[in-house]
């Protein structure tokens, strides 16, 4: 499936010389390749290609992700600059986007406090953007906590019903719990990234150069981001100090009970994504063997975590 992402094929598409094509190992929901373009005047550009998987687990597309990236880049957030999107799967097997490569690593580089505080400022900025004015292609904007939650439950429940391969009483129980326990209030309906952790940061010399991987970004509850980021942050800095910086920059109030709901929801979403990935692998549409590993192994682990979290709760 990756054989078609070659220097010559990319050169044809981009009408320039392409060198150093390298496929990044890992990645679950998209394929990622690094490469350089070499222009007639000898100048070079380092780019990243991110491509959808056929029958992928996340059921998202880089076409939507491109719109979000473009919007948050314009808003001044540290993200890779998106440069091109190709929605036509005929061109390179699947839709893909290109963005400029940013140097850095998922490591605080000996400056944990600085990195954590900068992350607080970035999240405060993200969570105070006006979703209505962002032009990120989010569609209907939820108005309150119930709408934020209902959209997620309905969307992922439908994917589960479409992709499921086996009976799953844990997920049936979990969807029921999610509906019955929806957060009562949201401090501010915000743009959320939903996968904020060190694994999605590019840090260079103690500065966050980029927040990566916007495929799950949407409009929702900032507690989703904050709850997910918290264990990552607490390896770098005390949570109270992080929140103080977040609030100082105008971040909405962190509602811990909402974060607990989103923790369960995230495990449910990931379990459904595992199911979708495995369904793609079993059908032969998705040839990535990691879909089978994750779809079987991580799925079971997530189901175990879900039932531990909600067990005994109506």
């Amino acid at each position: 499936m990756s054989a078609d992402v070659t220097a010559s094929r990319l050169g044809e598409i981009l009408k320039t010389k392409v060198e150093n094509v390298f496929r990044i190992p890992g990645g679950f929901s998209k394929e990622t390749f690094l490469f350089d373009t070499v222009h007639a005047d000898g100048s070079r550009e380092a780019l990243v290609l991110r491509r959808d998987l056929p029958a992928g687990p996340s059921q998202t597309t880089v076409v939507d992700e491109f719109k979000v990236l473009r919007a948050v880049h314009r808003a001044g957030l540290p993200v890779p600059e998106p440069v091109f999107v190709e929605p036509d799967a005929a061109v390179l097997g699947q839709p893909f986007l290109l963005m400029r490569r940013i140097e850095g690593s998922a490591d605080a580089g000996g400056k944990p406090r600085e990195v954590a505080l900068e992350l607080a400022r970035i999240l405060a900025r993200l969570h105070t953007l006006d979703p209505e004015k962002l032009d990120a292609g989010f569609g209907a904007i939820p108005r309150d906590a119930a709408e934020c939650a209902d959209f997620l439950i309905d969307h992922w429940h439908a994917i589960w019903l479409r992709k499921r391969l086996e009976p799953a009483p844990v997920l049936a129980r979990a969807f029921g719990w999610l509906r019955a326990s929806r957060p009562a209030a949201v401090s501010r309906v915000s743009v959320v990234h939903t996968d904020v952790g060190m694994h999605n940061l590019l840090v260079h010399d103690g500065k966050i150069r980029a927040l990566l991987d916007w495929e799950f970004a949407r409009v929702g509850d900032p507690a989703d981001d904050l709850g997910y980021a918290r264990p990552h942050v607490e390896k770098l800095l005390g949570w109270d100090e992080f929140l103080a910086e977040y609030y100082a920059r105008g971040g909405p109030v962190y509602l811990e009970e909402n974060a607990r709901w989103y923790e369960v929801w995230r495990s449910v979403r990931n379990a459904v994504a595992c199911t979708a990935g495995l369904a793609g692998f079993v059908s032969g549409e998705n040839l990535q063997v990691n879909q089978a590993l994750v779809g079987i192994g991580l799925y079971r682990q997530l189901c175990a975590e879900i039932i531990e979290r909600i067990g005994g709760k109506p």
Partner: protein, 142 residues
């Protein structure tokens, strides 16, 4: 004697790990080969561990469902749990049918389920997850 599937799978894993993998030079095919090897190891673990796991949990699942509604169609047929010669496929089919019945109850009228019964269902599902974890943990480590 003919080699068993398990023995053949072990042979394939050994070949992948000792012949194919050392000869690969780029990270992507290395990773795919390691994952394929792990997946085959999982099939061995499943072949070894799943029958006993299912034989232990099917009676518990049946007892729970019978306590809720003894007329459930999933309980109508004979159980394979006590049959030492039952194939893994037969055990999986029975286990799936029982889980489908439990899922149907949870989807149908979750609010009508008494808290004590819900707690029993949760406890059973948690026990199931713990019991089968060794079969799947190698995949997660990969």
């Amino acid at each position: 004697m003919r080699p068993t599937n398990r023995e053949l799978l072990r042979g394939i894993v050994h070949t992948l790990n000792t012949v194919v993998l050392p000869d690969l030079r780029s990270p992507w095919p290395q990773m795919v080969t390691v994952m394929t090897s792990r997946l085959l190891e999982h099939l061995i673990a499943r072949d070894e561990g799943l029958p006993a796991t299912l034989r232990a949990r099917i009676p518990e699942l049946r007892a729970l469902l019978a306590g809720i509604d003894p007329t459930l169609p999933a309980l109508a047929g004979p159980t394979h749990a006590g049959d030492a010669d039952a194939s893994v496929e037969a055990l999986v089919r029975e286990d799936d049918a029982l889980h489908a019945a439990l899922e149907h109850l949870l989807v149908g009228a979750p609010a009508a389920i008494e808290p004590a019964l819900l707690a029993r269902i949760d406890a059973l599902l948690a026990d199931e997850a713990r019991a089968e974890a060794p079969i799947y943990e190698r995949l997660v480590k990969a």
